[in-house]
């Protein structure tokens, strides 16, 4: 029997703003532009929004800032902050609130000017040492995430024979998708040799294994499925969503080659009544190249340890066996601190058939996996077109 929440809500509008460099704008300003774009896309007004889900890297009370600035008085407010996966995680509470009739239209939104703003990555890392002290890790490393992901990559290579070239394949595939996406920030040609030969950040990861640092804002609107039918665009139904958190600090993840996506994926797929083989298009939070390999394994697209071999020979690039990160990913499209909102937006656009040159023909089911912290939070969503209900 189908899960009672399967398909009951739908994403009816998506929008983004401030991609790349939003110099001169605040993060709230580009967030608002994205929110307005998402509402316009849905054919509704910001006045119709009565539910709000949002969070911020820097502000602990961001939902209040957003409600005030947007001029809305939401009946449902969620500001769960579990890193970049938050905007995938925001689905389930919103689905429950909509299904219970608490509200009618939830705006999920995010904006950051981490590249151009005065509070840049270094300032955030410095503040985090004070506000989110980790006395068993900070003496040995930075609050920056790269070394933690490097430790996971090194362990995966050791344990499964994953090669430096296979990690680079992930970045090259993302770039090839980005070259088909006029909105992507990095569209120059990129080879495996370029990735391996780039500046080392944290062994074995070079700067081309690491996500971009950009500005950007994104938003989507979620309503009940019955209302969605009357709006401007074809609804994209939420077939399943689940979140899992196993740790905060990388030293507390028992096996660095197995993430909580193995749990969130299984639960989301159960709600949706699908398996990995049903996915037509896959959007994974690729903060680093190792992420894509880990999540392909943990979500069941290939056996544990086979992710490196799975992505080899352009298998996840345009024309490969599985379309992964079709907007160019955090590696080549956009990455304003927390990227999770953009994997949702890209999945919706693919299922609507709006993606132009990079469109995956006939895409009906999209699998999205958000990641937060240092592989710490994982939220998996399954989205489907109306004919998957």
């Amino acid at each position: 029997m189908a899960h009672p929440l399967r398909g009951k809500t739908a994403i009816v509008g998506v929008g983004h703003a401030g991609f790349g460099d939003a110099s001169g704008f605040t993060e709230m300003e580009i967030l608002t532009q994205a929110a307005l774009a998402a509402c316009a896309d849905a054919g509704i007004s910001l006045r119709d929004i009565d539910g709000l889900a949002t969070c911020s890297v820097t502000s602990g009370m961001w939902a209040m800032n957003a409600a005030e600035s947007l001029g809305i008085r939401p009946k449902f407010i969620d500001s769960t902050m579990i890193g970049g996966s938050s905007f995938v995680e925001h689905l389930l509470p919103a689905m429950l609130a909509l299904d219970a009739g608490i509200c009618n239209a939830v705006l999920v939104c995010y904006g950051s000017t981490q590249r151009s703003g005065t509070v840049n990555r270094a300032a955030i890392a410095s503040a985090r040492r004070l506000l989110d002290a980790q006395p068993y890790e900070h003496p040995y490393g930075p609050a920056a995430p790269a070394p933690s992901y490097a430790l996971a990559a090194a362990r995966h290579m050791h344990q499964y024979g994953t090669t430096r070239e296979q990690l680079a394949e992930v970045a090259v595939a993302a770039r090839k998708w980005a070259q088909l996406n006029p909105e992507a920030q990095m569209r120059d040609p990129l080879t495996i040799e370029d990735v391996i030969g780039a500046r080392m950040v944290a062994d074995p990861l070079t700067v081309r294994d690491c996500c971009l640092v950009t500005d950007g804002a994104g938003a989507f609107v979620l309503t009940r499925a019955d209302r969605a039918r009357d709006l401007a665009k074809p609804p994209v139904h939420v077939l399943g969503n689940a979140t899992a958190v196993w740790h905060r600090q990388i030293s507390s993840l028992p096996d660095l080659t197995v993430t909580a996506a193995s749990e969130s994926g299984a639960r989301a797929f159960e709600m949706a009544g699908i398996t990995a083989k049903d996915a037509d298009v896959v959007e994974l939070y690729d903060a680093f190249t190792i992420n894509t390999i880990l999540f392909l394994e943990d979500l069941g697209f290939c056996p544990k340890g086979e992710g490196g071999r799975f992505v080899a020979d352009g298998a996840i690039a345009p024309g490969g066996r599985l379309p992964v990160n079709t907007n160019g990913g955090g590696l080549s499209c956009v990455h304003p601190g927390m990227y999770g909102i953009f994997i949702m937006i890209e999945a919706v656009r693919q299922l609507r058939g709006e993606c132009g040159e990079r469109q995956v023909n006939g895409a009906r089911i999209a699998v999205v996996n958000g990641n937060g912290g240092v592989l710490s939070s994982q939220s998996t969503a399954v989205l489907g077109t109306a004919d998957t209900l």
């Binding site: 006395p135 068993y136 890790e137 003496p139 040995y140 490393g141 930075p142 790269a146 070394p147 490097a150 430790l151 996971a152 090194a154 362990r155 050791h158 500046r199 080392m200 950040v201 944290a202 062994d203 074995p204 600090q249 990388i250 030293s251 507390s252 028992p254 660095l256």
Partner: protein
């Protein structure tokens, strides 16, 4: 009544030159970092023990920083023989020569006026 929580007790011991970790009196497993309750079984009876200090490198990286930011920084995850993992670094060896599986031994060093646990390579 104890006068400090587990975190302060841990760092006080470290300041006195001793590495101490917790062991659960209910399930007998070791616990790190220090907690009020056992993360394995939930019991709140944790006793301090002194581990051998011997461990194995579980994973390793070198964070490549600019010289102005402090230069290259070795970062490792160490599995103590007692079965707990901790982040640290391996000193007295070329940072890039640290290998997964390398045997190491703990040592209390000083960093920015505070005690910090580091590791050195050991034979075998």
């Amino acid at each position: 009544m104890q006068t400090a929580g587990p975190q302060k007790q841990y760092f006080d011991a470290l300041a006195a030159g001793a590495l101490k970790i917790q062991r659960c009196e209910a399930c007998s497993r070791h616990v790190f970092y220090p907690r009020v309750q056992c993360p394995h079984c939930g019991a709140d009876r944790l006793a301090w023990v002194q581990p051998t200090g011997l461990g194995t490198v579980y994973s390793t990286t070198v964070f490549r920083r600019k010289p102005a930011d402090g230069g290259d920084q070795q970062i490792a995850l160490i599995d103590l023989d007692e079965g707990v993992r901790m982040m640290s670094r391996v000193e007295n060896v070329d940072p890039a020569a640290v290998r997964i599986g390398m045997r190491v031994k703990a040592r209390v060093a000083q960093q920015d006026g505070a005690p910090v646990l580091v590791f050195d390579p050991v034979e075998g």
